[in-house]
């Protein structure tokens, strides 16, 4: 029998959501989904290479935090190798993300980074980090910078919050503990968002950690820790908004454990044979996009036609991104050594 950890309950009755906000969240999640489906297609068609980790199923986390609680382009976002959708939610155009996957000069990292290394200074996307947990302290550094600008440089406009995303597996690495300690100690304006999708490649979460309730690990650092249904974008948005308010008020970081699931294998190279059919079905039935769609219809915030229009629009956006990526130039071989040093 499948034993799932009980998901925290969230009452949508209390949610304040305008039609525009609801549709924006829906659109952002649909973009994440369709973009990733297209990546799989392009990967199998030999258009992109390397390890490609898709985000299907986890969309409510990126959209709920970045679109629901942050100011994209102002607040900082830090991701892992599963970073395409965080980049999209942060506002990096689909064209630039797709072109990066194609290794083109027009990619957000100029074709130097690839799937696991999406960067965009303009969109305050600190990256795509391919080593598990190494982005966590880097994100804390961006948060430290905000505090420093405010307190040392006297810049009263310095109010950015940093959202740092990582997986359940990363929470067993020293950098997680070391950085939580420092962030709580110095009350850094940061959200540590764990996307607990139950698996670290083939390592089941409960086989890797002494207490599977990750959010509880915050308490030893005197930090607020909350768990949230990561398949419910409105629930994620709610806890993220509270955490952002706390960070802006100078009250320090929050550890958010979003219980979620990836609908595909670890990467496109993973045959995904370890996870049971039963488990996959349980989580597939909780698809966050369908859930928000139904909610918007039930609450009369959108019509079926509205949702269809969004789906159509996003398909166009993703098709356009592919065309752009295909037609974009390769990086100039004469620039092989460019970007090593700051002067280049």
């Amino acid at each position: 029998m499948l034993q799932e950890r009980p998901l925290p309950t969230f009452s949508p009755a209390a949610v304040q959501l305008s039609r525009e906000e609801g549709l924006a969240l829906y659109e952002d999640m649909v973009l994440g989904r369709i973009f990733e489906d297209k990546c799989a297609e392009m990967y199998y068609r030999g258009k992109m290479f390397g390890f490609v980790h898709l985000y299907n199923g986890q969309e409510a986390v990126a959209s709920g935090v970045i679109r629901g609680a942050l100011r994209p382009g102002v607040d900082y976002v830090c991701s892992t190798y599963r970073d395409h959708v965080h980049a999209l939610s942060a506002g990096v155009p689909a064209r630039e993300v797709m072109a990066e996957l194609f290794g083109k000069a027009t990619g957000c990292s100029k074709g130097r980074g690839g799937s696991m290394h999406m960067f965009s200074a303009k969109h305050r996307l600190l990256g795509g980090y391919a080593f598990v947990a190494e982005g966590i302290p880097v994100a804390a550094g961006a948060a430290f910078q905000t505090k420093y600008r405010r307190e040392v440089l006297g810049d009263t406009t310095a109010d950015e919050v940093t959202a740092c995303f990582f997986g359940d597996g990363a929470c067993n690495n020293g950098q997680f503990f070391e950085t939580l300690n420092m962030a709580a100690l110095w009350k850094l304006p940061i959200l540590f968002v764990v996307e607990n999708n139950k698996w670290a490649i083939g390592m089941a979460h409960e086989r890797a950690t002494s207490d599977p309730h990750i959010y509880k690990k915050a308490s030893v650092f005197n930090m607020v820790g909350v768990e949230v249904d990561g398949m419910d974008v409105l629930a994620v948005r709610e806890v993220a908004q509270t955490a952002v308010a706390r960070a802006r008020a100078g009250e320090g970081p929050t550890l958010i454990e979003a219980l979620t699931y990836r609908f595909r294998g670890h990467s496109l190279a993973d045959p995904d044979e370890l996870r049971s059919k039963e488990e996959k079905e349980f989580w597939l039935s909780r698809d966050p996009i369908k859930r928000l769609g139904s909610y918007l219809l039930e609450q009369d915030l959108a019509t079926n036609q509205d949702l269809k229009t969004i789906d159509q629009k996003i398909k166009q956006v993703v098709e356009d991104a592919v065309t752009f990526a295909e037609q974009s130039p390769e990086p100039d071989p004469r620039e092989l050594r460019r970007y090593i040093f700051a002067e280049d």
Partner: protein
Amino acid sequence: MAETVFFNALRAAIDEEMARDATVFVLGEDVGHYGGSYKVTKNLYQKYGELRVLDTPIAENSFTGMAIGAAMTGLRPIIEGMNMGFLLLAFNQIANNAGMLRYTSGGNFQIPLVIRGPGGVGRQLGAEHSQRLEAYFQAVPGLKIVACSTPYNAKGLLKSAIRDNNPVLFFEHVLLYNLKEDLPEEEYLLPLDKAELVQTGKDVTILTYSRMRHHVLQALPELRQRGIQPEIIDLISLRPLDWDTISASVRKTHRVMIVEECMKTGGIGAEVTAGIMERLFDELDAPVVRLSSQDIPTPYNGTLERLTVVQPEQIVSTVADLVAKKI
């Protein structure tokens, strides 16, 4: 500044740069209240406050990562490695993120970061505190590596390192902190990518850096007595190497000896030797000779430790052999 002790020359460099640019800050273990394990940041926290002289927990990889994030978003951190050996725990952040991230990001971010601190073989500190890490780091793309050796160059180089927009690994040496030298009153900066011609000569080029510069200088009187005039070059920049200065000297003397404190295998000298073979083979009248420390963990025992590191007598006899065409 009159006569200045090495660690105070470093302190002055940091102090001046912090006063000049409010985005410069120091972080590391015991840099604040305690003043740094070699007193390089003594009393700076009183002057600049606890955020600008930030005492960190003992979490090298993570505070290095934090400094990188701060550098990416506009600050200019100086990390003090309490002992450079502890940076082994930060190897990932230094290599992946300090070194490579600018490239991987396609130029989206720059990382103006200095990582400085005491390195090298001290006096009977045992293997872990007597590391020779410059060689481990030299293959990381995107890093600049500098080794200072006198109060004068320490100050001028550190100031330049702080102003550089790239990550700079800045090696000091535990046994040089008490050297004294008269420093100019007025501000000066030294280029990070230039070797220093310590002594002009004609018979042989000696390439060295950090503490070994002083061992070479100790050997100099005896060499002169024997009628040998070596040209002594302190590499200063271990990456990138200053090939202009090295080449000019090799073209003049046609003989090269490298004196280094790092281990022979995969050392700085190995890289220099390979570079000379590639660029200057026709100029050589003899094979390049390397005097390196032994390929062993630094032993605790004083005699064994002395045998591990290149000594002035060894420099004298090897140079004599090289010049006498015995090599």
